[in-house]
C-alpha cells in the first residue's frame, strides 16, 4: 500500500470531482499498545495498527458520513457520501466561515510512546503492582496502561489540507481490599499527551492508594442527605466537566428553543468569583491540539466569566446556526465517527482562598476527593468521589466510604461559596458522549466549597 500521505492527496482530489454544499475527508493511521494486569500477573499485552478513513458530506443541511478501512475505492466512498446526503437534507446548509488551512503539525513529544520497547513499560508497571501487593489485606489489583500515536490527514472541499500527529498515554491503577463480605477499591487515573516520564516516579502515590483501599474497609457510610461539600481539585474538575461543561456544548442547545432560552448568554450562573474556561491551546495537556477535526484552529473560550454565561463550545454548524463564532471544538474519537462538539481542557480559574481557610471555615460537611466517575443529563448530574472525610468544626475528621454527589446544575453553581487559589489540572480518564468514548480531555479546578449538595447514603 502507498504511504498515507499519497492516499491523502488522492482523496483530496476525489473530493473535488463531486458536488455537495460541503465535503470533507479524514484519513487516520494509528499504532497503539496496551498492557493490563489483573492481580499479580500480567493479563494482556498487545499491539495494534489501524488505518482507515471517512468522508462527510452536507447537502441542504443534511449530513452523510461514510467510514471505511478498506482504502481501495476512495471515489466510490465519496460518491456514496454525496448520494446519502441528498436523502438527509431538507433545509439550507449553514457552516461558519473559516479560512482554509494548509499545515503540518508534528507531535508535541519527540519520543513516540508506542514504539518504546514493551519491556520498559512493563518494568514500571511491575514496580507499581509490587507496591500495591505489598499492602496487607489487599485482595487484588487492576492496572490498565494504553498508549497511542496517530497521524490524521484532513482535507475539505473548501481547500484545507492538514496533517496532524498526536500521542496519548493513559494509566489507571486500582487496588481492591476485602474482609469477609466487604469489598472496597481505590483507583488512580493518570494520563499525558505522549510524555512517558509523566507517569513515572509515582511510587509513593500508588502505595498510598493501596493503603487507602484497606482503610475504607473499616470506614462508615455517610447518611444520605444535604451537606456542605468541599471538593479537591480533581473532583472539582470532574464536577466542572460534568455539571457545566456538557451543557455548554452547543449541539445540545442549538436546535432546542427552550434550552436556548435557558442558556441565553449573560445569564447568571454563579457568584462573581466564578470563571470557567475551556481551552485547547495549553501546551502539554491531553485535550490540546492546533486544529479540530473540522480544520478549525483551537481557541480559549470563557464559558462563565464573573458568574455569567458568556460563551459555549461550537462546531462550524452550531456556530453558524446560533450566529456565534466557531471555537474549534468539533472532535471525533477516531475515523469511524463524525466530529461532534466536545470539550478539551476545562477548568475553574483560581480564586483567593487557601485550602486551610476553606476547611477552617466549614462547621460540618464532607471533604470529597479524587475521581471515580461522573455523568450528566444536562440538568441533573452525578459524580462520585474516590475518597471522603467528614469535616467537623473546621477540621478534617474520620474517613467515610466513597460518596456519590448529585445536583441540578442551575442551582448548584450558585451554591459555590468558596474558590481556592490552588488550580490543578487532572489528566486522567476520558470523556464519553454518545458512542465516542474515551476522548482525551483534561479538567481542573482549585479546591471549591458547595453548600446544600445532595449526597447519597444509607
Amino acid at each position: 500500500m502507498p504511504p498515507i500521505e499519497v492516499i491523502g492527496h488522492q482523496l483530496a482530489e476525489a473530493l473535488n470531482r463531486y458536488s455537495a454544499d460541503y465535503i470533507e475527508a479524514r484519513l487516520e493511521q494509528s499504532q497503539t499498545s496496551h498492557i493490563t494486569y489483573r492481580g499479580r500477573e500480567l493479563e494482556s499485552i498487545g499491539r495494534a495498527t489501524t488505518i482507515g478513513g471517512n468522508v462527510r458530506a452536507m447537502i441542504r443541511g443534511g449530513w452523510s458520513f461514510v467510514s471505511f478501512n478498506n482504502l481501495s475505492n476512495l471515489p466510490g466512498r465519496v460518491e456514496l457520501a454525496v448520494k446519502q446526503a441528498q436523502f438527509a437534507g431538507n433545509k439550507e446548509s449553514k457552516l461558519a466561515a473559516v479560512k482554509p488551512v494548509v499545515d503540518t503539525v508534528l507531535s508535541e513529544t519527540d519520543k513516540n510512546p508506542v514504539t518504546m520497547p514493551l519491556a520498559e513499560k512493563k518494568q514500571l508497571l511491575d514496580e507499581y503492582n509490587a507496591l500495591i501487593w505489598h499492602t496487607p489485606k489487599l485482595q487484588t489489583s487492576i492496572i490498565g496502561y494504553g498508549d497511542s500515536h496517530k497521524k490524521v490527514i484532513f482535507a475539505s472541499s473548501s481547500g484545507s489540507y492538514i496533517e496532524q500527529e498526536r500521542s496519548d498515554i493513559t494509566l489507571r491503577l486500582s487496588a481492591i481490599a476485602t474482609e469477609g463480605n466487604e469489598v472496597q477499591q481505590v483507583a488512580l487515573s493518570l494520563g499525558s499527551s505522549g510524555d512517558f516520564s509523566s507517569i513515572q516516579g509515582l511510587h509513593q502515590q500508588v502505595e498510598q492508594m493501596a493503603r487507602r483501599a484497606v482503610e475504607l474497609l473499616s470506614a462508615p457510610q455517610v447518611k444520605g442527605g444535604e451537606y456542605t461539600v468541599v471538593l479537591d481539585p480533581v473532583l472539582a474538575g470532574v464536577f466542572t466537566h460534568e455539571a457545566f461543561g456538557h451543557l455548554s456544548e452547543a449541539d445540545f442547545v442549538y436546535e432546542n428553543d427552550r434550552l436556548r432560552e435557558i442558556m441565553t448568554l449573560g445569564k447568571k450562573f454563579g457568584s462573581s468569583e466564578l470563571n470557567i474556561v475551556d481551552s485547547a491551546t495549553i501546551a502539554g495537556l491531553r485535550g490540546s491540539y492546533k486544529y479540530d477535526d473540522e480544520g478549525v484552529p483551537a481557541t480559549k473560550t470563557y464559558l462563565i466569566r464573573e458568574g455569567k454565561l458568556v460563551g459555549r463550545l461550537h462546531s462550524r454548524e452550531t456556530a453558524a446556526r446560533m450566529k456565534e463564532k466557531p471555537t474549534g471544538n468539533a472532535r471525533a474519537i477516531n475515523y469511524r465517527y463524525p466530529p461532534i462538539v466536545r470539550m478539551t481542557n476545562t477548568y475553574i480559574e483560581p480564586g483567593s482562598a487557601s485550602f486551610d481557610d476553606i476547611i477552617g471555615d466549614t462547621k460540618e460537611g464532607i471533604y470529597a476527593k479524587n475521581w471515580y466517575g461522573g455523568t450528566t443529563s444536562m440538568e441533573m448530574f452525578t459524580f462520585s468521589a474516590g475518597e471522603a472525610y467528614m469535616i467537623r468544626h473546621g477540621k478534617l475528621a474520620e474517613a467515610l466510604r466513597p460518596v456519590v454527589l448529585t445536583g441540578n446544575v442551575f442551582v448548584t453553581l450558585n451554591h459555590i461559596d468558596a474558590i481556592g487559589n490552588d488550580l490543578k489540572m487532572n489528566q486522567g480518564g476520558g470523556c464519553g458522549k454518545g458512542e465516542q468514548v474515551p476522548l482525551p480531555v483534561s479538567n481542573g479546578s482549585p479546591h471549591i466549597r458547595i453548600r446544600h449538595c445532595l449526597v447519597g447514603g444509607r
Partner: protein, 434 residues
C-alpha cells in the same frame, strides 16, 4: 487469514486468527428532524499465538501487512501470560439463528420513514417535546481459525430502533426514552412509541418524596440501569478467580431471594446477543447463574476456566479488539407471578424507578449502587401519582435482592442484552430535595 495462520505457525506452537467484518447504517434524527445518514464499513484481524508457553497478541486492519502482525504478536509473547488452555479442535456448533437477510434489504427510505413515524407519534401526544431518534441496520461476520484445525464462522444481522425525548419547562427537564433491537427488521414503531407515551403520561404531574427508606419497584429499564452491572461483575469468572467477587466462594449457597432465577443465554433465536460460538470458537450454551436464589455457576472463557480448573462456558468475548475475556451475552431473569398493578397497589408510599443515572460509579464489586432518579414515579396509597425529581437512591444489591417482595409476571427485553420482569423490593434508602 490462512496465510497469517501459516506464518504464525512457523514461529509459535499454537495460533488463532480471528476476523470480524461489519457493515452498519445508522440513520439519525436530531431535534425532531432527519440529520445524519451514516454508513460504516469495518474489518479487523486479531492474531493470538502461544509461543514458548506464553500468549502473544496483535491486531491490524490491514490483512496484507501480515508480517508486521506476526512480529508484533511475537514481541508481546515475551511478556504474555502463560497459556493454560488449549484452543478448541474441530467441533460442531448448536444451530443458533442470528441472521435475517431481510435486514440488509431494508432501504434507507424505509428507515427514514420509521424514524419520522416514531417522532410524529410522540409529538402528536406532546407537541413541545424535542426528540432524537436512531434507526440502525447492520451485519456482522465472524470467522475464527486455529492451529488445531478448529474453525467457526457465522453472520449476524442487527436492527434497532430508539428514541429519546426531552421536555423542558423553565429549567426543569424531563427525559423519556425507549429502544428495541432484534436480528429481524423492526418495521413497526408502535411498541417503542407507546412505551414513551406511557412514560409521558405517568410523568405529567410532579410529586414529592421524603428522605427515608421506601419500598421500590424497578421497571425492566430500572433493573438494567441500577442492578445489572454489579451482577455482571460478580458472576464474571475472572472476578471470582481473583477472589474479588462477594459470591465467589458461595457456589450452591442461598445468597438471593428464593424467587430469583438468572441465566446467561446466547442461544435464543434472533436476539442481538445470540451466537453459535464465542469469540474463541467455544460452542454457545445456556448457563444458569442463580437458581431459586442459590449461586449456580460463573461465566468463563478458555484461559480463566483453565486457571479455575473448570470448563469454558462459551463466554469469551473480545471488546474493542482486546484479548478474549469472560463477558455475559444475554442475561435472562425469570418472570414471577405478580402483576405490576398488584405491586403498585401494595405500596402506601414508595417509588417506581425507570431510569437511575450514575449507578455504575460506586463500589460495584461490593454490590453498592447509588444514583439520581432520572425518571421515576412516586406511589401513594396504591397509585402512581407523578414524577419525582432531585431524588437519589442508594443501596447494595446483595441486601436488596436477598429479600424481594415480588417479581413481575411480565418480561421485557432491554437493549438486547437483558430480559427481565419488574422487581419489587421492600426498602431502599431515598434522599430527596422534594
Amino acid at each position: 487469514m490462512e496465510n497469517i495462520l501459516t506464518q504464525a505457525k512457523r514461529v509459535a506452537e499454537e495460533a488463532e486468527v480471528f476476523m470480524v467484518t461489519s457493515e452498519e447504517t445508522p440513520v439519525q434524527f436530531e431535534a425532531n428532524h432527519l440529520k445524519h445518514i451514516q454508513s460504516k464499513q469495518n474489518s479487523s484481524i486479531a492474531l493470538r499465538i502461544i509461543r514458548q508457553g506464553r500468549i502473544g497478541y496483535a491486531t491490524t486492519t490491514e490483512p496484507s501487512n501480515y508480517q508486521s502482525l506476526v512480529n508484533n504478536a511475537v514481541e508481546t509473547a515475551h511478556f504474555g501470560m502463560p497459556a493454560k488452555f488449549e484452543l478448541p479442535p474441530p467441533t460442531s456448533y448448536p444451530p443458533v439463528e442470528a441472521y435475517d437477510p431481510d435486514v440488509e434489504s431494508v432501504s434507507v427510505e424505509e428507515m427514514i420513514r420509521l424514524g419520522e413515524e416514531l417522532i410524529a407519534t410522540v409529538r402528536g401526544h406532546t407537541p413541545d417535546i424535542v426528540c432524537e431518534a436512531e434507526v440502525t441496520k447492520g451485519v456482522i461476520s465472524i470467522r475464527i481459525i486455529n492451529s488445531r484445525g478448529g474453525q467457526a464462522n457465522y453472520r449476524k444481522s442487527i436492527f434497532s430502533l430508539g428514541i429519546e425525548g426531552n421536555l423542558i419547562h423553565n429549567t426543569d427537564i424531563l427525559f423519556v426514552g425507549e429502544s428495541e433491537s432484534s436480528c429481524h427488521p423492526l418495521l413497526e414503531s408502535k411498541a417503542v412509541a407507546q412505551a414513551v407515551l406511557h412514560q409521558l403520561e405517568l410523568a405529567k404531574n410532579r410529586a414529592e418524596v421524603s428522605s427515608q427508606p421506601l419500598p421500590v419497584i424497578f421497571t425492566p429499564n430500572g433493573v438494567a440501569s441500577a442492578l445489572i452491572l454489579p451482577l455482571m461483575t460478580a458472576f464474571n469468572g475472572k472476578t471470582v478467580l481473583e477472589g474479588a467477587s462477594p459470591i465467589g466462594n458461595r457456589l450452591g449457597q442461598q445468597v438471593f431471594d428464593k424467587k430469583l432465577w438468572l441465566w446467561d443465554d446466547p442461544t435464543i433465536a434472533y436476539c442481538p446477543g445470540s451466537r453459535p460460538c464465542d469469540d474463541e470458537g467455544t460452542p454457545s450454551q445456556r448457563t444458569p447463574l442463580i437458581e431459586q436464589g442459590k449461586v449456580a455457576h460463573f461465566l468463563y472463557d478458555l484461559q480463566t476456566a483453565a486457571l479455575a480448573h473448570t470448563r469454558s462456558t462459551g463466554n469469551g468475548s473480545r471488546s474493542r479488539g482486546g484479548l478474549p475475556a469472560p463477558s455475559p451475552t444475554a442475561f435472562i431473569i425469570a418472570p414471577g407471578t405478580t402483576t405490576l398493578d398488584d405491586m403498585v397497589n401494595d405500596i402506601k408510599q414508595g417509588l417506581v424507578i425507570e431510569h437511575l443515572m450514575g449507578a455504575g460509579q460506586g463500589n460495584i464489586l461490593g454490590g453498592d449502587f447509588s444514583g439520581n432518579v432520572l425518571l421515576g414515579y412516586k406511589v401513594e396509597s396504591g397509585k402512581i401519582v407523578g414524577r419525582v425529581k432531585d431524588t437519589m437512591v442508594s443501596g447494595n444489591i446483595y441486601q436488596l435482592l436477598k429479600q424481594i417482595t415480588a417479581i413481575g409476571s411480565d418480561v421485557k427485553w432491554v437493549g438486547g442484552f437483558l430480559q427481565t420482569p419488574h422487581i419489587y423490593c421492600p426498602r431502599l434508602s431515598v434522599a430527596s430535595k422534594g
